[in-house]
Symmetry: C2
Subunit: 574 residues, 2 copies
């Protein structure tokens, strides 16, 4: 493609609302344009990247016997009522009423639609297994869309759904998809980790996230330096040995702690470590009623673990200070478990601790020597704290956990019969008996993967595309477009490289070299050819490698062969 024919408009300034480098570079490089909050137009450069990711997806899914379809974006309320998610899904579901007073939503995901499709077509065990996927535009009504395509409202997703006769077969499908995802992300050229994860409100028990590593990633990951353990911090278990200390229980005692409202203040004043204090937090439980949660003073509550412990669909909300005061007679900082009439969940790390220091439920006072069972009743001990880096691996018990930041680009779920039960999706087994279909669902954020690739691969000058998903392979900066010899030679390279199957962008604008080089760095195509009259007259062509900054001078008649060889070396098939 010649720049003058293309539709590429780079910008010097990033938009004011762009926080992430990748968001800034997408806009500055002319890849995307904002239409409204969380809603973007993909310009041609972006579309080329998306198509490359999509091609990899199609190849890997078709190869594994999956069938591509295309389901509607507008979905009737009735289906979502059947699954219960019309209410349960929450405000991310954009609902609308049409002229005939019928309610619809814009599909944020397609479990309901695909289950409806399958329940109509599948009759018997002979029709199973099936694996259906689509690459489609989805919509989630994010309250505060940000980070560009990372947390936008409209986005492109590859979603796949597997249907099997039983759990064993469904797990086979699950691991087949797990492997497919691994290959897909390997092929995109990205550095990623597969981690244990939370199922969110999709449902299901077995689930993994595919995380592209990037310093600005939203997710924290813990990875063992010894074994293969890797988990989203949301679900990473803490190692716990249940060993009673045998210390005697002391007598409970109230003491004044005026102005000591934080654990840090209290620890400092009492000259003990924060981890030896106990903090009491309050959240809304499944029924909306208060629940108390106790942790070591140094620990952070893990809301996802708590959610799974109390069995709520979404992570619970904290009570406000006023609600806490009303419940306990004290503001947060002076609260404790003694005398409470609500369920009390206690982190396992406190199980064998004796003689706790906790709030007295009286502002400005604490209790010491508080003991479970004797002074209050524990509803449940559970792993509720946030595991942190440097701790021992919960799997091998030998390695230490390292922390990474990641961008979730893929997620696989084993769903079981959650949706087939709700929507009555059945098949007749060998004996002619009706059975529920076992399901799995598998998603890859296509537009998000594009941005994650940039977040992981950029420098101060712009994007540094992995060759596998770059919009073009080669960027020719034609510095003197009016020089006929030079532009003829450029055209020759252009045609030759393309006939080899390589994709070439020629910057044939009447612009200064400095502007062309800046734009080339910004757009981030892996290899650049500099066609300057002076160099060419001296019998040399400059090839620059975007990633390393390396510059190679070759003779004009060796340009094409050098480049072909370079792409072969980095593993591009053409």
């Amino acid at each position: 493609m010649k720049w003058n024919q293309a539709h590429i408009f780079t910008l010097r300034e990033a938009p004011a609302d762009a926080e992430l480098e990748s968001h800034k570079l997408l806009v500055r490089g002319g890849y995307i344009r904002k239409l409204g909050p969380g809603v973007f137009t993909y310009q041609n450069l972006a579309l080329r990247v998306l198509r490359k990711i999509e091609r990899i997806l199609r190849e890997e899914f078709d190869r594994r016997g999956c069938t591509e379809v295309l389901m509607p974006m507008v979905q009737p309320k009735e289906l979502w009522d059947e699954s219960g998610r019309w209410q349960e899904y929450g405000d991310l579901l954009l609902k609308m009423e049409n002229r005939n007073k019928q309610w619809f939503c814009l599909g944020p995901t397609h479990e309901e639609v695909v289950t409806d499709l399958i329940r109509k077509d599948i009759k018997s065990y002979r029709d199973l297994p099936k694996n259906i996927y689509q690459i489609q535009t989805k919509y989630r009504d994010e309250i505060r869309p940000r980070y560009g395509l990372m947390r936008g409202r409209e986005f492109i997703m590859k979603d796949a759904y597997s249907f099997d006769v039983d759990r064993e077969s469904a797990l086979k499908s699950y691991w087949l998809m797990y492997e497919a995802y691994k290959v897909v992300f390997k092929r995109t050229g990205l550095d990623f980790r597969i981690v244990e994860a939370d199922a969110g409100n999709i449902g299901g028990s077995l689930t993994h996230e595919f995380q592209v590593l990037a310093a600005a990633g939203e997710d924290k990951l813990l990875v063992c330096d010894n074994c293969e353990f890797a988990a989203n911090i949301e679900v990473a278990p803490s190692v716990f040995e249940d060993r009673p200390t045998g210390e005697p229980l002391e007598k409970i005692e109230e003491f004044a702690t005026p102005d000591l409202k934080t654990i840090a203040d209290l620890a400092k004043s009492l000259k003990i470590k924060e981890r030896d204090l106990v903090k009491t937090l309050f959240v809304k439980g499944v029924d909306g009623k208060p629940v108390a949660v106790l942790l070591r003073g140094s620990d952070e509550l893990n809301l996802v673990k708590l959610k799974n412990t109390i069995g709520s669909v979404n992570p619970p909300e904290f009570l406000t200070d006023e609600e806490v005061k009303k419940l306990t007679s004290a503001y947060p900082g002076s609260c404790g478990p003694v005398g409470l009439k609500v369920p009390i969940y206690v982190d396992q790390y406190l199980k064998n601790k004796v003689n706790w220091i906790v709030g007295a439920n009286r502002d400005g006072f604490h209790l010491k020597n508080v003991n479970q069972d004797r002074d209050f009743k524990v509803t449940l001990y559970a792993d509720l704290r946030m595991t942190t880096k440097g701790e021992t691996c919960p799997k091998c018990k030998k390695g230490k956990l390292k922390e990474f930041r990641g961008i979730e680009v893929g997620h696989v779920f084993y769903l079981g019969t959650k949706y087939s039960k709700a929507l009555n999706a059945t098949y007749l087994d060998h004996g002619g008996k009706s059975q529920l279909i076992e399901m799995g669902c598998y998603g890859i954020g296509v537009s998000r993967t594009m941005q994650a690739a940039i977040e992981q691969n950029h420098d101060e000058n712009g994007i540094v595309w992995p060759v596998e998903i770059a919009p073009y392979h080669i960027h020719i900066c034609l510095l003197d477009p009016k020089d006929k010899t030079l532009s003829d030679k450029t055209d020759e390279y252009y045609m030759e490289l393309q006939s080899l199957g390589l994709e070439v962008l020629v910057d044939d604008r009447e612009e200064r070299p400095g502007i062309k080089f800046k734009d080339a760095d910004l757009i981030g195509i892996p290899l650049r050819i500099v066609m300057g009259a002076k160099g060419f007259a001296a019998g040399e062509v400059e090839i620059a490698i975007r990633k390393t900054g390396e510059k190679i001078k070759v003779k004009p008649d060796q340009t094409v062969s050098y480049i072909a060889e370079w792409f072969k070396t980095v593993g591009v098939k053409f």
Copy 2:
């Protein structure tokens, strides 16, 4: 693809709501599944057809220097307010309010969005011309969706938009697109006509429709049998020679016509031809106020011509009987122009007619010898009638008009500055002066083209795909899948034909031959190979051509070469 791996489910019965053969066949052949009113899932077979149409589109548009992008489906109200279409577009625009109380619509078309994109990127005449296109899912809130994909709510469209410095350049872009469309539809293998058309509420003055001919098409087309004239009946002009008759005006006279409510009744009773009577109709004008329209008794009012004559955005609505009674003191059937205080539009065919018979505006009475100017005032004479087949061609004035029925699959519009003016999309000209950008827009209904292809190409047994857009080229009916020699040979053909670049579906199900043949006819793949144990043992393989029903027996070692030759002959490139 092997049937057992694929996701193909054919049905014996068509859905009750399917009126068109093509709709029935799409469902019965397992191509589409209904999710809700006007909303369908495209199964893999349909997706394969859509992708072929899309590939043709991309090739022809990229070749002509157009740039593909992908714009959002969810569009902010503010943009549609700028163009005035938030109101003007009417109920087809599905509007919705999000959780932040912001209003959006689902894009039925993208003039606003693309103009916004362009006004931000385009700075000077050097950035023009540009032609941007996308292939995207659109939504129109049809009040009564029907005919399957033909008048659905959610549909796939290719929409392109051209941007030029002036009218001359814009018209060049228009005709380039016109040619591109011609090539596209030629390449799909469909029989189509290009006709003059109405611009609807898109705006613009020059416009053509691309119509796939089909007996059940919604549109009527008039085509000259002598010259190249072709028009949608909505806009086909009537030939008119303005020649006064010179007959004397008689005296006006009222006479009783009890129970004569229709033109037919009146003509019969008076023993004159319907065309010698004059009928009076009432519609709502631009401001909602009544307008009278007079035509020969035998003519049908053309609402599109009337719309364009009175300058309204949408075709005007008729007054109800009660509204007519209130306005004229008589019910329809006894109304006429004398004494009316509303604008009176008169079809040009009445211009030189004298001594009319019209309603008396008194139930059960008519007037004779009514004459324009003397007895009432004509607001405007215009071409308001529906032209019909058999009439003289308005262009060459020699040929006769023939009527065809068509399905509109493409539409090209020259827009001028309607949107650039409303949205202030400008560029700086050579002199540094700000100028409005000239626009055109061009649409092809991709999903509709698929169904139109079926409507044009089917028989009593099923679909008969044009080879160019068939989901597969070859359908192998493996009649005895358990016969190892036979299934090995089938696999050999399968691999060989695919390695030639031909697409093959193998029906490897354990089903009776009759079911396989029926399904093959239904699905409509151009060429069928019948692999039966008996025939194969006798040294022959049957090849059947779906379109002609022709059956050819070949020797097993000639099968592949025969088929390759056949596809070359019909012009398929592989």
